[in-house]
């Protein structure tokens, strides 16, 4: 059985998230952020969240309107940190 290199999977998921940012659907980007965060300390997950808000949010600020995708990506990355440390190999 052929196993895809983990890096290839990471790149594929990140590109799928980028596709979601530009062409949608938005939940594809959200799913990519969660998948990347679950497995890696993925800086690209933060980037996807930031790109979504910079592109689509009417006005970017820290409080109003709330940049949900950026703050959500940060929260997900850090929320998965204990899981990544305990159960998964870090790359």
């Amino acid at each position: 059985m052929y196993h895809l290199p983990i890096t290839s999977i990471r790149v594929f998921v990140a590109l799928a998230g980028l596709f979601g940012v530009l062409w949608g659907p938005w939940w594809l980007t959200a799913a990519a952020i969660v998948l990347l965060s679950a497995r890696f300390r993925a800086w690209e997950a933060l980037l996807l969240g930031l790109l979504t808000d910079l592109t689509w949010l009417p006005a970017v600020s820290l409080f109003q309107p709330v940049p949900f995708f950026t703050l959500g990506a940060i929260a997900v990355i850090w929320a998965f940190e204990p899981i990544r440390s305990k159960f998964l190999l870090r790359t």
Partner: protein, 244 residues
């Protein structure tokens, strides 16, 4: 930690710069989105991704849709004529100043119910109305950059707007994708194709009734609204000052 700090720094830089960073990001996004859309149109036009059976089914569905749209167009035209006549009586401006702008991004990619149009600078300002060619208001300009502008759909998820249907007040709640929901009094006679207008947009139409659902136990009926044409099928919009 470094990446998190960098992201927050970029956000702060954008706020401090008055939106310069997001202006550049949107410019790049609109260009890349255009390339991708052109590529997909090219692939779709070859028929490479479609089987004969699916093409026949699509053909049948499109013929039915054309017939339905013709009927709705006739209904909308009659209402438009009546509305124009009322405007003249009330001495409202018949001609609405404004400019035409292309839609330069996907209309379904945004989780906030927004899309980009290819005009900006001094041509338009935040708060301007964005309408279809048929005069239906689809959104308002929410952010203007040098050559692009972000439009917030009035039917964006979480948005609500006061409207009028058959003379009755209703509160329309956006569901995204050009769709919305409202509750109307149960004794109001509502039909598919009825036009909904918004007082805040000068009694301009904002959608048509797509379906009505009611139960005998309820004092209201659910009215499902949508734009006459799907946003994804619209290439150009008309931007006009909101006080016209």
């Amino acid at each position: 930690m470094a990446a998190t700090a960098l992201v927050i720094l970029i956000l702060i830089a954008d706020v401090v710069s008055g939106g310069y960073v997001r202006g550049q990001v949107r410019l790049v996004a609109s260009v890349v989105s255009g390339w991708g859309s052109a590529l997909m149109r090219g692939v779709a036009s070859t028929g490479f991704l479609q089987s004969s059976a699916s093409l026949k089914a699509e053909n049948r569905a499109l013929k039915i849709q054309v017939a339905q749209l013709s009927e709705r167009a006739a209904s909308a035209e009659a209402l438009k004529r009546e509305n124009d006549a009322l405007r003249e009586l009330a001495r409202l401006a018949a001609d609405t100043p404004g400019i035409t702008a292309p839609i330069i991004s996907s209309v379904s990619a945004s989780p906030y119910g927004t899309f980009l149009i290819g005009t900006g600078g001094s041509d338009i300002i935040s708060g301007d109305m964005v309408m279809t060619e048929g005069g239906f208001v689809v959104g308002i300009v929410s952010d203007v950059r040098e050559s692009t502008a972000l439009v917030s759909e009035i039917f964006a998820p979480g948005n609500s707007i006061d409207a009028s249907l058959q003379g009755a007040y209703i509160r329309v709640e956006g569901r995204g994708g050009g769709n919305a929901h409202a509750e109307a009094p149960r004794d109001l006679i509502v039909g598919v194709g009825d036009v909904v207008v918004a007082p805040s947009f000068g009694q301009r139409p904002i959608g048509i009734v797509g379906a009505v659902a009611s139960t005998s136990a309820s004092a209201s009926q659910d009215v499902y609204l949508h734009l006459p044409s799907a946003l994804s099928a619209i290439s150009f919009v008309y931007v006009s000052p909101s006080d016209y």
